[in-house]
Amino acid sequence: MANFETVVVETDLLILGGGMAACGAAVEAAYWAKKNGLKVTLVDKAAVDRSGAVAMGLSAINQYVGLRDGANTVKDYVDYVRNDLMGITREDLVANIARHVDSTVHLFEQWGLPIWKDENGAYVHEGRWQLMINGESYKVVVAEAAKNGLLQDGVGQIFERVFIVGPLLDGDRCAGAVGFSVRDETFYVFKAKATLVAMGGAVHVFKPRSSGEGMGRAWYPPWNSGSSAYFTLKAGAEMTCQEVRFIPVRFKDAYGPVGAWFLLFKSRATNSQGGNYMVERKSELEKWVPYGRVKPIPANLRNYLGMLDTMEGKGPIYMRTEEAIQAIADNFKDDPKAYKKKMKELESEAWEDFLDMTISQAILWAASNVQPEERSSEIAAAEPYFIGSHSGASGAWVSGPEDLQSEATKSEYFWGYANMSTVTGLFCAGDASGASSHKFSSGSHAEGRIAAKAAIKYIVENNTLPSIAAETMERLKAEILRPLDTYEQNHRATTDPDVNPNYMKPKMFMFRLQKIMDEYAGGITAQFTTNKALLERALELLAFLKEDSEKLAAANLHELMRCWENVHRMWQAEAHVRTVLFREETRWPGYYFRADKPSLDDENWHVFANCKYDPNTNSWQMMAKPVQHIFEQELAGAKA
């Protein structure tokens, strides 16, 4: 076996991940840990300054409720999220994030994030819930506060470049995590009284549209590899909304953001015949009532109307940037000086939108000689992703807070500590927790804070270190390092280290997974369409893939990380296929279409589709859980 040193780290709270949710968890945990004499350890597979989905920066904060100004209420946000998700959301979880998110945004501003202000000093809104920012250093600023909290007075420690493979269990309790350094030959065992998972969503489970270098230009970052889903599944946690993948419509190929164009600049999207699918296909929305009648129209239904145009051969679909900019500038047409100034300002805003968060899109514009004030740009539906935010919802099934339950919800949605999964001592936030969509960067940070405070409370009330047998650690070490051994033992059998009858390298493994998901589970080449027989075939092929995962081979530490990342993706894939199969209807037609169950069935399927993997019996259990409300239910516009 590969000769790695084993380092055992004992801590009170273990935070896994380094993105927005993990940084929120760190800054909150540091405060409560210091008060209670506890230790916090954060483990990131990259460098906290620039890790996670905000690594590049962002041009907007997408969740700000505006409670202090009375702009909106917590209930307003809950109504918006529930309607957008076609009725399927955990109101207690969404409300919990919504009541805290403004606090987190105000902290960002204090820490140094530039938020746009108008002449009266009020935040500039992109839309009802969205704020415009100069966000190139968004993650740097947020990471700095987390580090300043964690590293004060020996409260905590940070491990960077340590890849977490999976959970450590003590009976039914989560006892920490195991992983390895991608920089030196060290195997890590983190023993913890509570563990908080915030390792992001999953990209590259489905085949991306690009086939070469551009494969890396996924909308969500390629380093989101399903580690949260794997960790929680393997710990035996109940999962929710594993069928609710997210497919964003973005500028085609480079996936630049469209929010500023649709919301701030009020742009239209039109097809090759000049038709606007939002107008021409309005009647299609009636098939999806009551959700087809809510305002704003759910993201997946907007997607779907555009997809129908594409499938009918009416593409390309263009964002009419030139028309939108002209319409705004026209307000100044009687004053040539003001007009010129406004045009310059709009041009700068348009470019910053990309340069802050999707620089590739700026390169693509420049490489195609596009000036947005002169020419339209194509938009398209991306490939499917797994994300607990935006209009995605996949993640672990977690407890809500006690004080946001109704009579109807408290027996189903509350079991002791906010954001604790069904596994004792295992907390989840950000993309790791499900059924709490539209949390974005700010809400993920707020949710990390919520989960961390609850986890510290759990530790104070359950202050025992788990026990882990030495042979368990040795078994896990051997299993995790096996790809290195497989390579070492077999690579001399051929003249090409990538082609060998005894093993498979992680990249080809990923391609095999992506092909299965693309063709059988409703990826881009299947036009997001699947059915029972295709899904059952996907499970057969995934079973072969799972067997072959034991033959993954790694020539170095980087490849060892890639091996495990792809195993993580494979588990996310299986949970997805099983749940799409379980839900016998089509509820989010802009995300996937069950051709054999082509319509919404609110009578039978207005429920959460949950699943659970049992590590002891190696079996899956599928469960329907009721959708209950904490606020009186309203479907805006539902009454025709």
């Binding site: 690594a55 140094g112 250093s137 600023v141 270098e213 890396g216 420049a366 405070k453 980087h558």
Partner: protein, 147 residues
């Protein structure tokens, strides 16, 4: 090749144990070739073009060439990031050049105080997070119980 390294400018970060680009890459792609003492991107098809290696390089040796499988050639976007702002030079395929400058933070580097200057809360059992309710700008945290 998304990010690439100009060998004339790269000094391998003076042969420290790891280079700046290797330190920062969120996807563990940048590595130092020990033989040439130059850094390189080991798997360009997993590069997000996040530009963190470009921004952090002390010798401006790292640049980005747009993804060859969908981006026409000849354009570039080059940042100069200082402590409070970033200056972008965007060069078009047709030779046109545009420059943009944006603020990146309003405080000095390293000075982010965790509580943001807000008074803190002491009750581990309340729904209030440590800077609340002050950081909300409200007298109390919203709750169904208090309604």
């Amino acid at each position: 090749m998304p990010s690439y390294v100009n060998p004339d400018k790269c000094d391998g970060c003076k042969a420290q144990d790891k280079t700046a680009c290797q330190y920062i890459c969120p996807n563990d792609l940048m590595v130092l070739d020990k033989a040439t003492n130059k850094a390189y991107n080991r798997d360009v098809s997993m590069c997000w073009e996040c530009y963190n290696c470009v921004k952090i390089c002390p010798t401006q040796a790292v640049e980005v060439r747009g993804y060859a499988d969908f981006v026409p050639m000849g354009a570039s976007a080059t940042p100069m990031r200082s402590t409070d702002s970033i200056l972008w030079t965007v060069t078009f395929r047709n030779g046109m050049i545009k420059r943009f400058k944006f603020p990146i933070r309003t405080t000095a580097e390293g000075t982010a105080v965790p509580d943001g200057g807000f008074p803190t809360d002491d009750d581990l059992s309340s729904p209030a997070l440590f800077t609340e309710p002050a950081s909300l700008g409200l007298p109390a945290v919203f709750s169904l119980r208090s309604q």
